[in-house]
Symmetry: C2
Amino acid sequence: MEDFWEDWDLAFEDVFPKSLKEALEGIKEIPTYGERGASRFMYNLLKLEKEKRKEIIEKVLEAVEVLRPCRECFLITDREVCPICSDEKRSKKFICVVEESQDAYAIEKLERYKGVYHVLQGHIAPLEGISAEDLTIDALMERIKKYQPKEVILATNPNVEGEATANYIAGLIRRKFPAVKITRTAYGFQFGSLIEFVDEYSLEKSMENRK
Amino acid sequence: MEDFWEDWDLAFEDVFPKSLKEALEGIKEIPTYGERGASRFMYNLLKLEKEKRKEIIEKVLEAVEVLRPCRECFLITDREVCPICSDEKRSKKFICVVEESQDAYAIEKLERYKGVYHVLQGHIAPLEGISAEDLTIDALMERIKKYQPKEVILATNPNVEGEATANYIAGLIRRKFPAVKITRTAYGFQFGSLIEFVDEYSLEKSMENRK
């Protein structure tokens, strides 16, 4: 080896900026973030002008400080009770059950749904160690008891975990509140897909659910 | 349609938390981040306890405030001149040219290299509109003139853009400083790969560079 490549005494810790190390370690504590995700976030952030990047992170800090789950429906909001639950015009006779706040906001963006939501804060996934008790299912049952809804729409994700979660909750509601109508969001084609490549389950459903 | 699904007057903007909207828009300004990346970051962050997530973002803010490029080599650091450039024991007779700070830190982690670095802050990519002038190549030439290094190691990424950038810089140095030795990091097998699936270029190089 050349003379610039040898064992020597300066340690990596003395060279690597402490603040960067701590920021990276912090981001790695965010669910789904590892070494790569943290690195991608920080180094790309640092490509921006100092004022710009500071402005962005101050906005994130502001969000992190004011946001919390709605006391009623667990939707992420900046108030004690979210604007949907506290709006007199929204009907509590329809409860749309979703896994996460972003799902509710996606439906909300359509500006069509007049009922309220219930955010489960996840899905049942025994392999990940997430059971029904980790979700807000007890609170959902309380709300069904209190509001006696006409219909509960199970809008969990269209995948194995979402199906399992919807089935579990449907069974629970059927036993406890047999009068409540339970519906599940429809399977079918997604706009822009090609029939040739649509999975069999969705293809079958899109035929069955034709109208 | 049912009576809960209709055109009505509450707009999405009145429902979606303003602080969350602004944080998401901020993150979308970070290079490589779009709708999905911003959403993934914020909603996963919000899954953490309030104190925890605040602590993480405060660390990011601290990093964003103190970090800057080294005045000499452009490595991201918390000082005016980075600990590598200001260390008497590091030889300025060897300059290792990298695209980004994280590349220098990856080499630094080996705790073997005794020379200094030069961070280009990117690579030449005409299709992305990034030309040689957008990089710190002028500063590199100044440093070569000043320090008269024995060797410049071109450690840009082993891909098309990295090769193009290394070739461009090699040509420039050869013309301006013909006495300087120019080397390029070696191609070959990466540990853990399977020969069967190694790309032809690397396979060829690993045979040629055998020793």
